[in-house]
Amino acid sequence: MAQGDAVTGAMNVHVVTRPAPDAGCGLAVTLPRSASVTEALLALPPERALDGATALAGWLRGELAALAAELPPGPGLSIDAWRLLSALRHPEHSSVSADDSFVPSPRICRRAVGIAAVSRCVRGWSRSPASAVAEVLAAAADDATRQQAPDPNGPPWWAAWYLQLPSGGRAAVAAEAVTWATQLFSAFEWDRFDRPPVIGGRDDWWRTAGGRLALQGRVEVRAQLDGTTAFAVVAHGWSDTYWRTRLGFPALVSLLARGERAVPGRVVGIWPASGQIRVLPVDIPILRQVADSVLAAAATLVDARLESASGAPRPRRGAGGHKPRDT
């Protein structure tokens, strides 16, 4: 399978979505899909030169720092993949409330619970995603019950919320997590990984000086290859024209946070709802493209924050002529 191809549920050679001008599209896999997707993740990337990556990172840090300096007093601005894509897709409708309140729900928790469950399955500690989810939930509830004081190594962030739910609410959390975990667990042939992959793991964070603006890079799987890594990302919905930005964003945050050596060789995106699989080789042109998108989104979000603070409408710099699109 060629790099950059879209791998989808439609097998053999069938056009699935409108092709990107610079990428083959629609070359698909033969069932079983998990074998092909695993090959796509684990294949050694071609030799690449990341000449200019350090300079790109330096330039982007400076641009983001300048935007951060424009932020009005109040909470800082964190940009994750969801907020990035929202700002790119709908810059004129972007709003970043200073009091964005976080309300847990089964759908919000399913990734956190599911990732822990898949990790158990891959390590052989649980026999199925459903069993693993039950064990993860029980352990977290137990930890939360016994916790006396805040502890960074204590129960996960959702445990206290989960603990106070009635039985029907807890079952809803388990059901969402089982479905999510089953999708990730069945996406790969885990016994073909020579080295144990990191399932979930810590997000990459990069912050401007003073921490006023932060980027959060999150991936579901980090596979160790010879001399490099490959990321796998589980995404919502279906793969639209921003798929390169979606997959390239965690690679860019790795560059900013941990330097050139941390940049993965490729990122494999999985959209379970649509069955779409995308493979993004990470190189300098991709990193530049994603950096442009991040800057446009950050400008949009800063403008939204300024508008919110002043109460006066304000044009969004990320809108209009500088609307980056992947295709």
């Binding site: 549920g9 069932l31 029907g168 809803a172 479905t179 919905g237 279906w238």
Partner: protein, 320 residues
């Protein structure tokens, strides 16, 4: 019941060209009949909207004019769906009504149903609770615990983009059983119904089967509708003929939905359901069919005229 859903024969071999061929058929069919589509909001196709637009475009348009009205039947259906999911996930429930209501409450996306239930008079609420308990008892009697090795997953969302994402075929499947397909089909789809058996339920299932085929590249080997009130299950082996048959229906309905989304005037198609249509006061053809301009309330009762009530198909009573 689980033996029936899993089947005892050899599963069908997956045709590696089927999914791509189906997709090409849809893509080409939409392109030929609709021409270039705008970049406006994508048209989302659901089983409900397909059914409505194929029965009567004017009915679909009328039903979308206001917020979804919550009725006792809708609330019961949502609660029974939640009770079924609870049972499949946990395998026990001390109070199905309380558990189901808590599940809807914490999910947050059915606040209208939760508010409706909480606003009921005590006697109505007690009746609804008893109703849900009856359905939950039927579920518990008919469904043994599903082995985790079958990878049961509930309320799984499917979204299939077409024509560059301008049309999205969507579904939320109540229950999927079986690991992803390899050389042979391996997945069974189950839809849960708390109401009476209706003709469109089979079309709903085949719509799901089509979407699963497009999503994964392999059709499910079986689809089933489980009726919680009676414990009956209608199951059907999926064949390529069935899938291609439903594709024609989906294509026709999608073309109509796209045209309506583009501003075309809805075409009324008088039918036995006109008497219940919220658009009846403004629809002369419908009034001619219904004999009145005042829509009826409530649901179809046994013995009333309906184009949608279906006889039992392949049916078995769920055994405990």
């Amino acid at each position: 019941m689980l033996d029936r859903l899993r089947g005892d024969g050899e599963r069908p071999v997956v045709d590696p060209g089927l999914a791509g061929g189906l997709r090409d058929w849809l893509e080409v069919g939409l392109a030929e009949r609709l021409g270039p589509l705008s970049d406006d909001r994508p048209v989302r196709v659901t089983k409900e909207r397909l059914n409505q637009v194929l029965v009567c475009e004017a009915h679909l348009a009328a039903s979308q004019e206001g917020p979804r009205p919550v009725t006792m039947e809708l609330a019961r259906g949502s609660l029974v769906d939640a009770a079924f999911r609870h049972w499949i996930t946990v395998g026990r429930s001390d109070d199905p009504f309380v558990d189901a209501l808590a599940a809807l409450d914490v999910a947050g996306d059915q606040a209208d149903v939760v508010a409706f239930v909480e606003g009921l008079h005590a006697s109505e609420r007690a009746q609804l609770a008893a109703d849900v308990a009856h359905h939950a008892h039927s579920i518990a009697s008919g469904w043994p615990l599903v082995s985790h090795r079958w990878l049961p997953r509930t309320q799984e969302r499917i979204e299939v983009p077409l024509v560059g994402g301008r049309v999205i075929l969507t579904a939320v499947v109540d229950l999927l059983l079986g690991a992803p397909a390899g050389e042979r089909a391996s997945v069974c789809l189950v839809e849960v119904k708390s109401g009476a058996r209706r003709l469109e339920h089979r079309s709903d299932l085949l719509y799901y089967a089509l979407l699963e085929t497009l999503r994964t590249g392999a059709p499910p080997f079986k689809v089933a509708t489980y009726y919680t009130a009676s414990g009956d299950i209608d199951d059907e082996a999926v064949t390529e003929d069935l899938i291609t048959g439903v594709l024609v229906r989906v294509l026709e309905g999608t073309v109509r939905l796209v045209r309506l989304a583009g501003g075309a005037a809805p075409v009324p198609s008088p039918n036995p359901l006109c008497a219940w249509c919220v658009g009846l006061p403004r629809c002369l053809p419908g009034q001619g069919r219904a004999g009145t301009s005042i829509p009826r309330r409530g649901r179809l009762e046994d013995g009333e005229e309906s184009a949608h009530r279906a006889p039992p198909a392949v049916s078995v009573r769920g055994a405990g």
